[in-house]
């Protein structure tokens, strides 16, 4: 059986001037939590938006393969894609404060998505919405359904977004840094909720984050993105134990691990910033910041396999 979501060599450009994503590949299996990590501007969010075909105006996507439940998303027109979105595949965003329409009640916005895709009565949709609000840990769902977004806190709004995404029982949920804009305590609650829902509902979850702490706790599989490419992908334990790509190694050195870190050892950092990469860029995007870089890095970079299910993009031997 094919993977739930299979993306191969996805490219996204904006107006021919910048390439935000350069041949990124990743797969999400059914019932798997797949974390996509990387620093700001590496193309994580754009990848997610491209999968959903939600790129902002001027954005253009191409891919060798882009399938969802075996269906080719590249062949779908806008209508076909709209039938999937909010239905079999749902997405939640980074900014809970602005992601809900200020002019409509929570109830109206939640039922709308179900009534469009499932052709149910308002009564059924309301019941489902109230039920889901309860599931995402919102007390007094009946009251909340009649409220407007501005009457809710950021954490509550993100819970509403999650509940709304679950209205049509999606197979795949894409969560684009869902906790970044929230308070630290609320962040933990939302993550716990996502992990629990993923387990209970058997969701495929593509979680985009730059927080490796989150990854270590809830991911089954991790893909590391750098400058528009997935530079390394492995099962979580494998990646943390044996990172192959210099960038992944650098990332892991930046995270303090209690017990493993010696007191006097300085926390690592990667010098420099993500380069600006236009069309026609060749070679490894990381080479300017990489301590192992040599002349060959300016040319084609080999795709290597360190172990079954552990792929990386670097000339260095496994």
């Amino acid at each position: 059986m094919s993977a739930l979501l299979d993306v191969e060599r996805l490219e996204v450009g904006f107006g021919g001037r910048t390439s935000a994503v350069r041949g990124a590949s990743l797969t999400v299996e059914r019932g798997e939590t797949h974390c996509l990590v990387g620093e700001s501007g590496c193309g994580k969010s754009v990848t997610a938006l491209a999968i959903m075909n939600l790129l902002a105006r001027g954005g253009h996507r191409t891919a060798q393969r882009l399938t969802f439940q075996g269906d080719d998303l590249l062949k779908l027109d806008d209508r076909g894609m709209a039938r999937l979105r909010g239905n079999a595949m749902a997405m939640i965003f980074q900014e809970p404060m602005t992601s809900l329409n200020p002019a409509y009640t929570i109830g109206s916005q939640m039922t709308e998505v179900m009534r469009r895709h499932k052709k149910v009565s308002q009564r059924v949709a309301i019941d489902r919405a109230a039920d889901l609000l309860g599931q995402v840990g919102i007390t007094a769902p009946g009251l909340r359904l009649g409220q407007f977004p501005h009457q809710l806190s950021g954490g509550l709004r993100q819970r509403v977004m999650i509940a709304m995404a679950l209205m049509c029982e999606p197979q795949l949920l894409i969560a684009d840094e869902p906790t970044t804009a929230l308070d630290v305590t609320v962040q933990a609650q939302i993550l716990r909720l996502l992990a629990q829902l993923q387990r209970d509902l058997g969701l495929g979850l593509l979680l985009i984050t730059h927080d490796l702490g989150i990854v270590a706790r809830i991911a089954h599989r991790v893909s590391v993105m750098y400058a528009g490419e997935v530079v390394e992908s492995a099962a979580t334990a494998q990646l943390f134990a044996d990172p192959k790509h210099p960038y992944t190694q650098g990332l892991l050195r930046c995270v303090p691990v209690p017990g493993k870190q010696r007191q006097d050892e300085p926390l690592g950092s990667i010098p420099g910033t993500v380069p600006r990469i236009g069309p026609g860029f060749e070679g490894c995007g990381f080479r300017d910041r990489c301590t192992f870089a040599d002349a060959t890095c300016a040319h084609a970079v080999p795709h290597q396999t360190a172990a079954p299910g552990h792929d990386y993009l670097c000339r260095l031997a496994p």
Binding site: L54, M81, A82, A90, S99, P102
Partner: protein
């Protein structure tokens, strides 16, 4: 919200009081009213008689307080020329002006909201540029001149519409178009800007992520938010239109309040002039309050 409304009401009353004072001062600017009223051939005795008859021999402050006292109770005095109560005169003429204003506003909204939406959806296309061009042209078009041109084309050459008067609804078509023309640029730009802002917002991305239809995204989610300032401004625009209708009423010989004011200015009929200024100002202030209320009704964040 309630406190806000009370505050607005107090401001509105203060504005009305200020305008009353200004309107009174305005009519006293020319010096001795009695001389103007009595006319150029009047003798000193005539002027004295007029002064007595209209109470102009009293101290200015007393005249002012008297006028204010009556105006508050709805008595705006008597017209020198028509020899009837000013309030009756204005009440008779108001329907024409209101019809004209509402026709103009409806036409303006019917034109500018669809144009603004389409321009926003097709931002930076030729259509968008054409819409902005129309807005620029509308802004530069002198309304009285547009009125005359329409009269030549539709009234004379094509013979489709009556040239002047108030006999039937057809009489309001050309004046309505001219009046609408003055409001279209602002309303179109506001709709366009609001739609562009709304379409770029996160909640529209959410709506797209929910797989909603394009119509629902545009009209239910984006327009609902973009329309808030447009509707609010439309109420204020109606106030400006009523004030500006004096020109159009004169061009098309529509006997509305503006025409009455114009006649009265020509005839030195001061009670009518100061009353019309006051009435139009009060209507404007009332419309700004309507605008605030509409804002509160449409934007749940302002309700509370």
């Amino acid at each position: 919200m309630f406190r806000f409304l009370v505050r607005r009401l107090i401001v509105a009353l203060l504005v009305a009081a200020t305008v009353m004072t200004l309107a009174f001062i305005l009519t006293r600017l020319s010096g001795d009213l009695a001389i103007s009223i009595a006319g150029p051939n009047a003798t000193a005795a005539d002027i004295e008689a007029v002064r007595k008859a209209y109470g102009l021999d009293r101290p200015v402050l007393e005249q002012f307080l008297d006028w204010v006292g009556r105006a508050v109770t709805g008595d705006l005095g008597n017209s020198y020329f028509f020899q009837t109560r000013v309030s009756t005169l204005i009440a008779e003429r108001m329907p024409v002006t209101l019809t004209l204003g509402l026709t103009g506003l409806s036409l303006a909204l019917l034109i500018s909201i669809p144009m603004g939406i389409l321009a926003a959806v097709r931002e930076n296309t030729n259509f968008d540029r054409a819409v902005q061009m129309v807005a620029l042209i509308g802004q530069a078009m002198p309304s009285f001149w547009l009125g005359l041109l329409l009269m030549i084309v539709f009234g004379l050459s094509l013979g489709w519409l009556p040239i002047s008067g108030t006999g039937s609804w057809e009489h309001f078509v050309m004046p309505g178009i001219v009046l609408a023309f003055s409001a279209v640029p602002a309303l179109t730009r506001l709709t366009r800007a609001g739609m562009i802002q709304a379409m770029a917002s996160d909640y529209i991305r959410t709506a797209r992520a929910k797989g909603l239809s394009r119509a629902s995204i545009l009209l239910k989610h984006a327009l609902r938010n973009a329309a808030i300032p447009v509707v609010a401004i439309a109420a204020v625009q109606l106030g400006f239109m009523l004030g500006g209708s004096i020109v159009i009423e004169q061009v098309f010989a529509l006997h509305g309040v503006g025409f009455l004011a114009w006649e009265s200015i020509a005839k030195n009929d001061f009670p009518v002039v100061q009353a019309v200024v006051l009435v139009l100002a009060v209507i404007y202030v009332a419309l700004t309050m309507v605008s605030d209320l509409l804002n509160a009704v449409l934007d749940p964040r302002l309700r509370a």
